[in-house]
């Protein structure tokens, strides 16, 4: 997807993880990840349902904070 919103890992089970972003929980595949994933990590999700990469916590929080301000402004949200 165009916008890559970091999603926080709530739990992992084998090759899958439950992630959360803006209050929405989703189950994603970890099969394309090249590094171990743990609870609390932030992941970028792509191509339907695959986690593609890990994002550092600070960068993830900055992106989420930015998006939160944009989404709070009716002029900046989805058209």
């Amino acid at each position: 997807m165009c916008m890559a919103i970091p999603s926080r890992v709530l739990s992992t089970e084998g090759e899958f993880a439950t992630v959360e972003c803006f209050g929405v929980e989703r189950v994603v595949s970890l099969m394309l990840m090249d590094e171990p994933v743990a609870v609390g990590d932030y992941l970028i999700i792509q191509s339907g349902s695959f986690a593609m990469e890990k994002v550092e916590e600070q960068a993830a929080l900055e992106s989420l904070a930015y998006l939160e301000t944009v989404l709070a402004d009716p002029a900046g949200g989805a058209v």
């Binding site: 997807m1 165009c2 916008m3 890559a4 919103i5 972003c21 803006f22 929405v24 989703r26 189950v27 994603v28 595949s29 099969m31 394309l32 090249d34 970028i44 999700i45 792509q46 191509s47 339907g48 349902s49 695959f50 593609m52 990469e53 994002v55 960068a59 900055e62 992106s63 930015y66 998006l67 301000t69 944009v70 989404l71 402004d73 002029a75 900046g76 949200g77 989805a78 058209v79």
Partner: protein, 383 residues
């Protein structure tokens, strides 16, 4: 397996109506967060570029570099050729990953084959961090140019690995380059691309999706700048040029290639265009790595002015426009490929409407949507 997108990630919602056996109406609801870029206002140039690369991290290289280029144009910066070559390499690496990703992850679904996750993982290992072999400090998107210190052995090794995966998993050998090698490749049907081509052929869909919508031509920057400068949002949401919608992406770039041209303008030509571009991109990368020399970059401070960044990204032409005052963004606009290709009267609409829907209209629409390759999740309803 596919999960619903978050509202903020955006989506396309397509409703198609079939009447008397033909596609009779199409409604396109574009839920991409188009105005998100306008919220860059007030950011410092470098921060806006970083934010761009981070927020749009699916096509990070194209977005980050279009942004950096827009800042540099606004500030009157000229980059050394080496930086230009390095940036071109990064965008091509992203294009290779995206195009090969279609073959390994998306097309298998159309032809009842398993997705090729291991191959995609190997390809990502070679190309996802490609920028670090050029810009070891990770500052590839810095306006003015990052610290360019090419590691030629690493670049060569990564490219060889990528070429091996593509050759084996996407083409099962040499990439077809003309009609005769294409036909042979399709008949062999050894990979998902070849199987998809065979399926399109056997269903009689090769010419489906052809339309009078023209490939987006090169546009002189002053003309494009003027159009964007006076735009209040309608041009970036539903762009036209010369009074008509245009199509952008691999087919628009390679419509004149002998193989693509010999296959017409429909689904088959568009599939071939993506594969021709994949093969050409890898070859071009192998030439480019030898043209890059070290460069320290230049400091970018307090620029004022307006500038355009224009990049041929995997999905098509991506344009960023910025207005800066004393190094801070006062206006930011993005014109992206999805808005050209999914214009309500554009390539999708003209490729569908009036044409015979056949006995599998849902699947037919899905094929054309995949060929036009939206950058967001796409919900399709055919009734």
């Amino acid at each position: 397996m596919s999960i619903p997108p978050l509202a903020v990630e955006g989506s396309l919602e397509l409703s198609v109506r079939v009447e008397e056996g033909r596609f009779a109406a199409l409604s396109v609801i574009n839920r991409r967060p188009l105005s998100i870029a306008s919220a860059f206002t007030g950011q410092e140039a470098q921060a806006a570029v970083s934010l761009c690369a981070r927020l749009f991290s699916i096509c990070r290289m194209a977005q980050g570099l279009a942004s950096a280029q827009a800042m540099e144009k606004a500030g009157g910066f000229d980059l050394p050729a080496s930086q230009g070559h390095a940036r071109e390499l990064l965008i091509l690496a992203e294009t290779v990953l995206e195009h090969a990703g279609r073959s390994l992850l998306v097309w298998p679904d159309f032809v009842d084959q398993p997705v090729q996750l291991l191959d995609l993982k190997h390809l990502r290992r070679a190309l996802a961090d490609f920028h670090l072999a050029l810009y070891p400090d990770g500052d590839w998107m810095r306006p003015g140019g990052g610290r360019l210190a090419p590691d030629l052995p690493q670049l060569t090794r990564r490219l060889a690995e990528a070429a091996e995966v593509v050759s084996r998993a996407v083409f099962a050998g040499e990439a077809p380059h003309d009609l005769s090698s294409w036909q042979h490749w399709v008949e062999q049907g050894k990979t998902s691309g070849a199987l998809l081509a065979r399926s399109i052929q056997s269903r009689g869909w090769a010419d489906f999706g052809a339309s009078l919508v023209k490939p987006l031509p090169p546009i002189a920057e002053p003309a494009l700048d003027e159009r964007l400068r006076f735009d209040e949002g309608s041009f970036t949401a539903t762009p036209t040029w010369d009074g008509a919608p245009q199509v952008t992406g691999p087919f628009a770039r390679y419509a004149g290639h002998p193989l693509v041209a010999s296959l017409g303008q429909g689904l088959m030509a568009r599939l071939a265009a993506r594969l021709v571009e994949l093969s050409a991109a890898l070859k071009h990368m192998q030439r480019l790595v030898h043209k890059i020399s070290a460069d320290a970059g230049r400091t970018f401070l307090n620029a004022s002015g307006a500038g355009l960044g224009v990049v041929e990204a995997a999905r098509g032409r991506l344009v960023h426009r910025v207005e800066l005052e004393q190094g801070r963004v006062t206006r930011y606009q993005i014109l992206a490929p999805t808005e050209w290709n999914f214009h309500p009267q554009g390539a999708l609409a003209q490729g569908l409407l009036g044409h015979v829907a056949g006995d599998a209209p849902d699947l037919l629409v899905r094929h054309l949507v995949a060929a036009l390759d939206p950058c967001v999740a796409c919900k399709i309803e055919v009734a």
